[in-house]
C-alpha cells in the first residue's frame, strides 16, 4: 500500500511548488499522448477486433486535489485522488471491460457489448447470471439470439426483383435494385436507407441499445452490424459530398473565368483601383476577430475542437453510438464520475478515493478540506459542490456565504440597525443628522428619536429626560450589536465584491490582450511554445484572484477570538499586493513588448503563485488544528 503511494507521488509531484503547471502539464501531455495513440491504433486496425478491445488498460495517472502530502508547517494532509478523463478514456475503459469479459465467456465482443450495456456495465452480476441461470434466457432478455459469436458475413444484400421495403414501400426493380439489410439472426429486412433512418431515430430517442425496427422482434443491433450500416452510410455521405464539391468547383471555375476576364480588362486601368478592394478585405477579417474577443484563446480553441469532434461524430453512426454509451456511463455512475461544469467542456473527473484511510467519505472530507479538481481541459472546479474553484473557503461556507449575499435578511438587519419605525405610521425612518426632534415625512407625526414618545412632552432638543425605560435601553443594546455585525459583514462583502469585479475585468482585459499577443507572435514570428509563458501568467493571476476573493468569505466566518486572524490578514495583504502588481504589469505592458519582458512576468507570477500557496496552506493548517476556527459560521 505504502510503496504504491510512493510511486504515485514520484510520478506526479517532484516539485514543491503549488499548482506546478510544468509538472502537471507534463503528466497531462503524456496522458493525452497515450490516449491519442491508442485511439489511432483503434482506427487503423478497425477490422481487427483484438486490437479494438484490449484487455489491459494504460497505467493511471493519479492526480491529487491538494498537491502535497504535508503543509509547510509539516502537518500531514488528507488528499482526494482523482483522474481527469475524456470520453475517449471512458471508451477505452469500457472496451477493455468487454475484452476481459470475452476472455472468460468466449462469445464474441459483439455479444459481450450488448450484454454489458443491458447489465449497465455490472460485469459481476452479468457473469453470475450468465453462469448460474439459463444462458438462452439471459441472452434473450438482453436482445440477443441463441447463437453466440461475432458477425463475419456481409448483411447488406441486393433485393430480388419485386421485393418491397415495408417502411418506404419502394419496390426493387431490375433497373433500380434495392439494397436491403437485416440483422444476422432475424429475417426482418428493410432497405438500407430506411434502416439508417431507424437507427438515427432510435439514437434520438435516447436508446443505447437499438432494436430491430420490426415491433415484434426483440433483437438488438450489435456493434459490428451497426458498423456495416455505418460503413455504407459513410460511403453514401462521401459520395454526396464529392458530388457537392464537384458542383461547387464547377461554379467556382465559372466565376474564375469571369474574374479572369475582368482582370484582363482591368489590366488596362490604373492599379490604384485594386488597393481599396484589398483594404476592405482586411477590415472584414478584423471584425471577425473582434466578435470573438469575448472568449479567451483557450476557450475558443476548446470550442473549435468540440465542434470538429461533434461534426465527425454526427457523420458516423458508430462513433455516435459509442459517444452516447460513454455519456450514459458517466451519467449513471455519478458516485465516481463528475462532469466538468464549464460550458462547452465534455471532460470529467473520476474519483479514486483518498490517500489515507483516516477519511472514508467525501462528506467527511469536506468538513476540513476542499476537493478542488482539474479536468483534462484545465478547468478547475470543486468535486463536491460542482462550483468553480473556491479555495480556501470550505464548501459549506460557500453555500452560506452565497445565501447570505442573496438574503434579504441582511437588508432587513441594516434597516433594524439604522432605522426606527415612526410611532405614528410605522414607516421606517433613518436619522441622518440633526437633533432628536423628529418629524415624520409621511404622517407629520412629531416624536423624540431617543425615547420614541410624543415630542410635545419634551423641551430640550438634545437631551431626553424620558429614556429610562429598561425595555428601551435593551432595544438599544440589541441595535448596537446588530450594527457591529453589519459593519463587519459590509466590510467583507465589499472586499469580496471588489475582487469579484476585478476578476471579471481581468478576464475580459486579458483575453483581449492575449488575442493581440497572438497576432504579434504571428507577425514577429515567435514560436507558439515561446509565447506560452504569457498564457501561464494569465492563468496564475486569475487563479490567485479567485483564492484572494474567497479568502474574504473565509475571514468573515473565522472565530473572532482566534489568535490567527492577524496572520491570515497579513498573508491576505501580501497576496493582494502581489496580485495587483501582476495585474498592473499586464495593464502597462504594451503588447509589442510582452515577449521582451518575459522574465519580469515570470518572476512576478511565480511570486503570486507562491503567496497564493502560502495562503491556502495556512488556512489548511488552521483548519486541521483548530476545530473551532469557523465558529463564526455556526
Amino acid at each position: 500500500m505504502y510503496s504504491q503511494e510512493v510511486s504515485d507521488e514520484e510520478l506526479y509531484e517532484d516539485d514543491n511548488d503549488f499548482y506546478d503547471d510544468d509538472s502537471e502539464d507534463d503528466v497531462d501531455d503524456e496522458l493525452e499522448f497515450d490516449t491519442e495513440d491508442d485511439y489511432s491504433v483503434n482506427k487503423l486496425n478497425f477490422e481487427d477486433e483484438d486490437d479494438e478491445f484490449k484487455t489491459t488498460l494504460p497505467p493511471r495517472f493519479v492526480h491529487y486535489c491538494y498537491p502535497q502530502k504535508f503543509t509547510r508547517g509539516m502537518l500531514p494532509t488528507n488528499r482526494m485522488k482523482y483522474e481527469p478523463v475524456d470520453y475517449e478514456d471512458i471508451e477505452l475503459k469500457l472496451k477493455c471491460k468487454i475484452g476481459n469479459l470475452n476472455k472468460i465467456l468466449q462469445i464474441g465482443t459483439d455479444d459481450c457489448t450488448v450484454l454489458l450495456i443491458y447489465y449497465h456495465w455490472n460485469d459481476q452480476k452479468l457473469l453470475e447470471d450468465y453462469t448460474t441461470q439459463d444462458t438462452t434466457e439471459v441472452r434473450r432478455k438482453a436482445g440477443l439470439s441463441d447463437i453466440a459469436g461475432n458477425l463475419e458475413t456481409n448483411l447488406i444484400q441486393t433485393a430480388k426483383e419485386g421485393d418491397m421495403c415495408l417502411i418506404c414501400c419502394s419496390e426493387s426493380t431490375a433497373e433500380n435494385p434495392l439494397n436491403v439489410f437485416h440483422l444476422q439472426h432475424c429475417s426482418h429486412s428493410y432497405c438500407i436507407d430506411c434502416y439508417i433512418a431507424c437507427v438515427k431515430l432510435a439514437a434520438e430517442q435516447g436508446n443505447l441499445l437499438i432494436n430491430c425496427p420490426e415491433p415484434s422482434c426483440k433483437l438488438k443491433i450489435r456493434p459490428t452490424e451497426l458498423h456495416q450500416i455505418d460503413a455504407y452510410n459513410t460511403r453514401i455521405l462521401e459520395k454526396l459530398e464529392a458530388e457537392k464539391k464537384q458542383e461547387n468547383d464547377a461554379i467556382r471555375l465559372r466565376r474564375l473565368t469571369e474574374d479572369q476576364i475582368k482582370v484582363k480588362y482591368q489590366d488596362d486601368f490604373d492599379d490604384s483601383l485594386d488597393s481599396p478592394d484589398s483594404d476592405d478585405d482586411d477590415d472584414d477579417v478584423q471584425k471577425e476577430i473582434k466578435d470573438e474577443d469575448l472568449f479567451n484563446f483557450h476557450e475558443r480553441s476548446l470550442k473549435r475542437q468540440r465542434k470538429e469532434k461533434e461534426d465527425k461524430r454526427k457523420k458516423s453512426l458508430y462513433r455516435n453510438y459509442w459517444y452516447h454509451i460513454c455519456k450514459n456511463y458517466i451519467m449513471t455512475n455519478r458516485k465516481t464520475f463528475k462532469s466538468c461544469p464549464a460550458a462547452d467542456c465534455e471532460s470529467s473527473v473520476e474519483y479514486l478515493g483518498f490517500d489515507s484511510s483516516n477519511i472514508v467519505s467525501i462528506d467527511e472530507y469536506i468538513t476540513t478540506y476542499i476537493p478542488i479538481v482539474e479536468c483534462t481541459n484545465h478547468h478547475r472546479f470543486c468535486y463536491y459542490c460542482n462550483a468553480e474553484d473556491h479555495a480556501p473557503a470550505l464548501c459549506f461556507l460557500v453555500k452560506i456565504w452565497v445565501q447570505t449575499c442573496k438574503d434579504e435578511s441582511k437588508t432587513l438587519s441594516w434597516l433594524s440597525a439604522n432605522t426606527k419605525d415612526c410611532p405614528g405610521c410605522q414607516e421606517p425612518i433613518e436619522k441622518n443628522g440633526g437633533c432628536n426632534h423628529m418629524t415624520c415625512k409621511s404622517c407629520h407625526h412629531e416624536f423624540c428619536w431617543v425615547c420614541m414618545s410624543d415630542w410635545s412632552r419634551h423641551t430640550d432638543n438634545y437631551n431626553c429626560g424620558f429614556a429610562r425605560d429598561p425595555r428601551i435601553s435593551n432595544d438599544k443594546e440589541k441595535q448596537e450589536k446588530s450594527r457591529a455585525s453589519l459593519t463587519k459583514y459590509l466590510h467583507f462583502v465589499q472586499m469580496f465584491d471588489i475582487h469579484r469585479v476585478s476578476l471579471k475585468k481581468d478576464k475580459e482585459f486579458l483575453s483581449k490582450l492575449e488575442m493581440r499577443v497572438q497576432e504579434i507572435q504571428q507577425k514577429v514570428g515567435v514560436s507558439w511554445i515561446e509565447a506560452q509563458f504569457y498564457r501561464e501568467c494569465i492563468d496564475i493571476l486569475l487563479k490567485a484572484r479567485v483564492t484572494l476573493m474567497w479568502s474574504f468569505a473565509f475571514m468573515y466566518y473565522m472565530n473572532p477570538k482566534s489568535k490567527e486572524i492577524p496572520a491570515v490578514q497579513r498573508l491576505q495583504n501580501i497576496l493582494s499586493f502581489n496580485v495587483e502588481t501582476l495585474s498592473k504589469l499586464f495593464e502597462v505592458t504594451a503588447s509589442e513588448y510582452v515577449i521582451q519582458k518575459k522574465s519580469e512576468f515570470l518572476t512576478t507570477a511565480s511570486s503570486v503563485k507562491n503567496h497564493q500557496f502560502n495562503m491556502i496552506d495556512k488556512v489548511m493548517e488552521l483548519m486541521i488544528t483548530d476545530k473551532n476556527l469557523l465558529s463564526g459560521a455556526l
Binding site: I167, C168, S170, A197, C198, L201, N207, P213, P215
Partner: protein, 158 residues
C-alpha cells in the same frame, strides 16, 4: 409531406378493408387526418358490444420516421355524435393513451393498422373498469398533443 409518407399511407389504408372491427373514416381528401372507429368484441364486462370508440390519427409530415399523433376523441368538427372514451387503466379521460409504441417505442415499421390493432387488443384484454391513477391531475395539465407529454412505461402486464 414527403414522397415516402404519401406512398406509404396510401398502401396502409388498403389494409383496413380486411378487418371488420376497425372502420376507417377519411373525413378529408388530405392524407394527414384519419379516424378509426373501433369495436371491442368478447369483453362485455367492461365494454358493451354496441359501443364504438373513435381513434384519431394525425400524421406527421415526416411519417413514418416520426410517430403519428394518436388518441381517442369524443367530438370534433368532423364528427356528428359524441363518442365515449373507453375505460382502461392506461387511457386517460381526455383520450390520451399510455402505450409505448406510440411514443418512445415507435419504429417506422409500425403502421396505422398495427397501432389500431394494438389499441384494440389492449382493450379486449382488459378486465379493469377504471381510469389510470392521477387521471384528474393529468387531464388538467396535459398538453393537447399527447406526444408532448412525458410518458413513463412501468406496467407491461395490462
Amino acid at each position: 409531406m414527403s414522397q415516402i409518407s404519401t406512398t406509404r399511407i396510401s398502401k396502409e389504408l388498403l389494409k383496413f378493408q380486411s378487418t371488420s372491427t376497425l372502420n376507417l373514416v377519411q373525413p378529408t381528401d388530405s392524407l394527414t387526418l384519419f379516424y378509426v372507429d373501433l369495436k371491442v368484441e368478447g369483453n362485455e364486462a367492461v365494454y358493451p358490444p354496441d359501443d364504438i370508440y373513435r381513434l384519431r390519427f394525425i400524421i406527421h409530415p415526416e411519417y413514418p420516421f416520426k410517430p403519428p399523433q394518436v388518441q381517442f376523441i369524443t367530438t370534433d368538427q368532423h364528427t356528428t355524435k359524441p363518442y365515449k372514451i373507453p375505460m382502461h387503466p392506461h387511457i386517460y379521460s381526455n383520450g390520451h393513451i399510455c402505450l409505448n409504441i406510440l411514443y418512445d417505442g415507435w419504429t417506422p415499421a409500425n403502421t396505422l393498422h398495427t397501432v389500431a390493432l394494438s389499441v384494440q387488443s389492449m382493450l379486449s384484454g382488459n378486465s379493469v373498469n377504471a381510469r389510470p391513477e392521477g387521471d384528474k391531475s393529468y387531464c388538467s395539465s396535459a398538453p393537447l398533443n399527447p406526444l408532448h407529454s412525458k410518458w413513463v412505461f412501468d406496467d407491461d402486464k395490462v
